[in-house]
């Protein structure tokens, strides 16, 4: 029997005619890559975004560098091309994104880890598409309590995912993790995102995750997915509060957390600093657009600095405190 496996696509890829539709960020993503972290969409709607896979090297284009970013060994670069943008990742290949954000083409990188490719599509690539459509894309996590969403933004390792997941186990509905798609307006709203969360193993072990989800995938981080329907926000929600996280190791007064409201200009700058696509990558012109979008959101949504005490044993108290605050607003 001839060996053909080496020349076949990796199993996560689909043939073009088999592209599958997924619900994500309030729209439909038609993809030739499988996304186990997304819910499939079968409502027959035209896709908002299509993701195609092309074999081989990307075609040469006239490129204008916009920005770059280096995270440890990984290097990211964004270029303007005549009909859109080109995102080049050292470890995952090249992504061309059309000027209207509707089309994403990934040029297959043979050594790319599928999980990394998916995270880039659901992170920077789709963020770029959404920003082109006028949304503010924040690096954060959110839940809905009652009718209003509470968002947590901040740098990596500040506890965004942990807080959102802990609140979900206490009855809140998960809006999304890592990328928050915010629409300014009166009221500002946040769109449901990816219905899975990635947690550090110690946090995953500390939370009663089985009460809200049925799948835990171990890894560098534990991927928590398979959330129960009632634990998910499935429609855009009014954005009631945004917390900019600034954790502390302890509090002399014994509090589990405290918060401080930000003046509108402080809030705007704080949000601009927490965009999913940093100015160093997208360039200052796009950063200016992000600032305007952040100002529109800060004008209508209360933004606070939240100082939670880093203490897994007090996570339940922290959740109760945040819920209590949400009830008085």
């Amino acid at each position: 029997m001839p060996t053909v496996a080496a020349s076949l696509p990796i199993s996560v890829f689909r043939n073009r005619e088999q592209a599958r539709d997924y619900s994500a960020f309030g729209g439909v993503l038609r993809s030739e890559i499988d996304f186990p972290e997304l819910s499939t969409s079968d409502n027959g709607a035209e896709p908002d975004w299509t993701l195609r896979v092309e074999r081989g090297d990307p075609p040469p284009r006239t490129v204008t560098p916009l920005g770059k970013r280096q995270i440890r060994e990984e290097r990211y670069e964004l270029f303007q091309i005549p009909d859109g943008f080109r995102l080049v990742y050292s470890h995952a290949g090249t992504f061309d994104i059309s000027g209207d954000g509707g089309s994403i083409v990934w040029y297959d990188h043979r050594e790319a880890v599928p999980e990394l490719v998916r995270s880039i599509v659901l992170g920077p690539a789709i963020s770029l598409a959404l920003e082109l459509a006028g949304f503010l894309c924040l690096h954060g996590s959110a839940v809905v309590i009652g009718e209003a969403a509470i968002a947590f933004v901040g740098p990596k390792h500040f506890g965004k995912s942990t807080l959102a997941t802990a609140l979900a186990t206490a009855g809140a509905r998960l809006v999304g993790d890592d990328l928050l798609v915010v629409s300014s307006g009166r009221p500002a709203t946040v769109r449901p995102g990816v219905s899975s969360v990635r947690l550090w193993a110690d946090m995953a072990a500390a939370l009663p995750l089985r009460t809200v989800c049925n799948t835990l995938i171990p890894g560098v981080k534990t991927t928590v997915t398979g959330f129960a329907h009632e634990a998910l926000a499935v429609r855009p929600a009014m954005l009631g509060t945004i917390y900019v996280l600034s954790p502390v190791t302890n509090d002399a007064a014994g509090r589990v957390a405290w918060r401080k409201p930000l003046a509108p200009s402080e809030a705007t700058v704080a949000l601009a600093h927490q965009t999913k696509l940093p100015a160093s990558l997208v360039g200052l012109r796009a950063a200016g657009s992000q600032l305007v979008a952040a100002a529109a959101v800060a004008a209508t949504v209360p933004v606070w600095t939240l100082h939670p005490v880093r203490d897994v044993a007090r996570l339940g108290d922290l959740v109760r405190q945040i819920i209590e605050w949400s009830c008085v607003e």
């Binding site: 509108p264 705007t268 700058v269 200052l284």
Partner: protein, 100 residues
């Protein structure tokens, strides 16, 4: 974010204008700026935002002082002049305001 403040000498006849090398927007009564030179964000309080709106076209320091005195009636002219000069001096140093 940097809150702008400072002191310098500018004459009343000096004309100034907001630099084009920035993006700004109003937030409530305040304003925020992003410098296109260095990517730094700046916040302006209510009075700073008032001056910023006025210098979207060239204005002399004297014009600015008089316009602000109309808006903030409780301030003395000399105090207003000092505040305007202080603000503009720092904004010029940050290259967010040009002398024209």
């Amino acid at each position: 974010m940097i809150i702008v403040s400072g002191m310098h000498n500018l004459s009343l006849d000096t004309a100034v204008c907001a630099s084009p090398q920035q993006v700004s927007c109003d937030v409530a009564d305040e304003a925020v700026l992003l410098s296109m030179r260095d990517g730094e964000y700046y916040g302006l309080n209510e009075v700073g935002a008032s001056i910023w709106r006025l210098i979207q076209r060239p204005r002399t320091v004297l014009e600015l002082r008089d316009l602000l005195l109309e808006e903030y009636e409780e301030i003395e002219a000399s105090e207003c002049e000092r505040a305007v000069v202080s603000f503009l001096t720092e904004m010029i140093a940050l290259k967010l305001v040009d002398v024209v």
